[in-house]
Amino acid sequence: MTSLLEVKDLVIKFALRSGEVTATNGVSFTLEKGERLGLVGESGAGKSVTGFSIINLISKPGYIASGEVNFLGENLARVSDERIRSIRGNRISMIFQDPMMTLNPVLTIGTQMTETLHQHNPKMSKEEARNIALNKLRKVHIPSPEKRLDQYPHEFSGGMRQRIIIAIALLTDPELIIADEPTTALDVTIQAEIMDLLMELCETDDMGLILITHDLAVVAQVTQNIAVMYAGSVVEKGPTAQVVADPQHPYTQGLIAALPQSSGHGERLNQIPGMMPTLKNIPPGCSFNPRCPHVMDVCRRQNPGLRPGKNGSLAACHLYPAELVNPSAV
């Protein structure tokens, strides 16, 4: 059976005036039907750009230099504009970070929802579109949706807006949802509500979810698998429970140690020393080597590919013996 999504050796470059910059360097992962995957990393690690590349929407001057994005066996990196538009927002939906900005301020919720439906199905009648919109609003637990449909975005609170955005993403019953930091702009109680909602929806409709975030706690709560990104590459991936409980790559270890709850009461918070390299001067060898506590000579010379760690997940680190593995198999 073909996977829902298979990203293979994805290389995204940005052609800047000062030269070319590689934003992701050979990212690979797979997602089965109904699977939830967390894409974790610091700002600038290439998470969002990977998310956008799946629906082939990298804004200029970025472009997909090589690699494949196979959605149910179809390489979306190479299909026509028209074909990708029929998939975008229809079979793959995306949810953004800031619910205050992603709704059009001058159109009612109803208009925005029915317009999305009409874009993908021009023949649909107005009533039918309205009914679908009502259903989806009910699904995301918006009270009295009939009244809410004729209201403008400024009449909703932040959490409600994010629900509406999720409802819009659900309109066309997509097979995959890419959520780019969906809860970063919300406060903690609403965060949990929204994550529960997303999880519930994925389970009832057997939808795939790619959760892009820097929040490991959220990932641990929601996803089955995880891919940790650093400076444009996946440095560790595996089942979420194992990666969180027993991280293999020194970067993942650092990330988990840096969570405030990892340090004891009254102690200093842990942090990873140094900063992520800018994409223009990624160090040779392993890109994490200047910050790594276990750095060895070989790390400065040779880029370790993903290899099996001790607990069954894959880590790109010289600490583990090299072995020929298929990097897209998790």
């Binding site: 538009r85 953004f96 800031d98 900005m101 059009n104 001058v106 874009q119 993908h120």
Partner: protein
């Protein structure tokens, strides 16, 4: 909740109720527009009907002057036409040309501004340079050229028949850059916002993003600009007609009426110029006042003192 109730609760209505100048302007404007629309019913005479004109009645002063006649409330012009009727019909022509020209320039300018602003690059550069070139010509100069050529081609008599569409075209084509620049500026601000990105992610085509998503967000500057442009277009038409390049004397607009009385002003027949002039001032002033009010409402950053 229906639309009327919504409007009653809106900020626009709230501020309107509290702005006496705006209320007065709107009332004046409504009276003038209604008079223009129902001119054939309201005007006591039909100034286009030669049967009703008697040259013996020429240059009768308004009724309140010594030689005035009650029959002609505001007097007659040099051809014996009733001033009141001629002015109402003239205002009708001025308003038709004003609205027509603004509709033309708005359609052109808004479309160009939206697409140039959204797509950027060469398309944008081309249209904005075209706008610069266009604005560096005086529209009067262009109009003089075009009307001279047109009059030579179709003859002066025929020109009278096509004068209205011609004026709409000249004034409309010369002013589109105003709209294009305004709209482009707001599109540049809007297209960076996340809802545009979200629409792209939702699979919208770029023309649907432009027309359905961005256009509604640019409406308030368009509305404000439109009121000012209607006033400008009415003035432009009056200026062209005054110079003899616009409406012919047998179907006068306000501008050509002012012109026709101008020669007689020193012989004492002041009313032929002054009264249409006064009407023009009232019309333009009330439109501009209403435009000012709209600008204040839609742009709260511009609080007055």
């Amino acid at each position: 909740m229906n639309r009327l109730d919504k409007f009653r609760e809106s900020f626009l209505w709230y501020s309107f109720k509290r702005d006496k100048v705006a209320i007065a302007s709107l009332i004046v404007l409504m009276v003038l527009f209604l008079a223009a629309i129902f001119a054939p019913l309201i005007a006591p005479y039909n100034p286009y009907d030669p049967e009703m004109i008697d040259i013996m009645n020429s240059e009768i002063p308004p009724a309140w002057e010594e030689e005035g006649v009650a029959e002609f409330l505001l007097g007659t012009d040099s051809q014996g036409r009733d001033m009141l009727s001629t002015m109402i019909y003239g205002m009708r022509i001025s308003i038709i040309i004003g609205l027509g020209a603004v509709a033309l320039q708005a359609i052109l300018g808004v479309l160009i501004g939206l697409f140039a602003g959204y797509h950027g690059g060469r398309l944008d550069a081309f249209f904005m340079r075209a706008a610069d070139v266009q604005l560096s010509f005086s529209y009067l100069m262009v109009a003089i050229f075009m009307s001279a050529i047109l009059q030579a081609v179709v003859g002066v008599a025929k020109f009278g028949e096509i004068a209205i569409p011609f004026l709409v075209l000249v004034i409309g084509l010369s002013q589109w850059p105003q709209y294009a620049r305004t709209v482009r500026a707001s599109v540049l601000a809007e297209r960076k916002k996340e809802y545009v990105e979200a629409a792209r992610v939702a699979g919208f085509t770029s023309s649907r993003i432009i027309l359905d998503q961005i256009f509604p967000n640019t409406l308030s500057p368009i509305l404000v600009l439109s009121t000012i442009q209607v006033a400008n277009a009415v003035m432009s038409e009056a200026a062209l007609s005054f110079l003899g390049l616009g409406m012919p004397i047998d179907r006068p607009s306000l501008g050509s009426l002012i012109n026709s009385g101008f020669e007689l002003i020193f012989s004492g027949a002041w009313w032929i110029t002054a009264l249409p002039g006064l009407l023009l001032v009232i019309l333009v002033l009330s439109i501009n006042m209403l435009g000012d009010f709209l600008r204040d409402v839609f742009n709260p950053k511009l609080y007055k003192g």
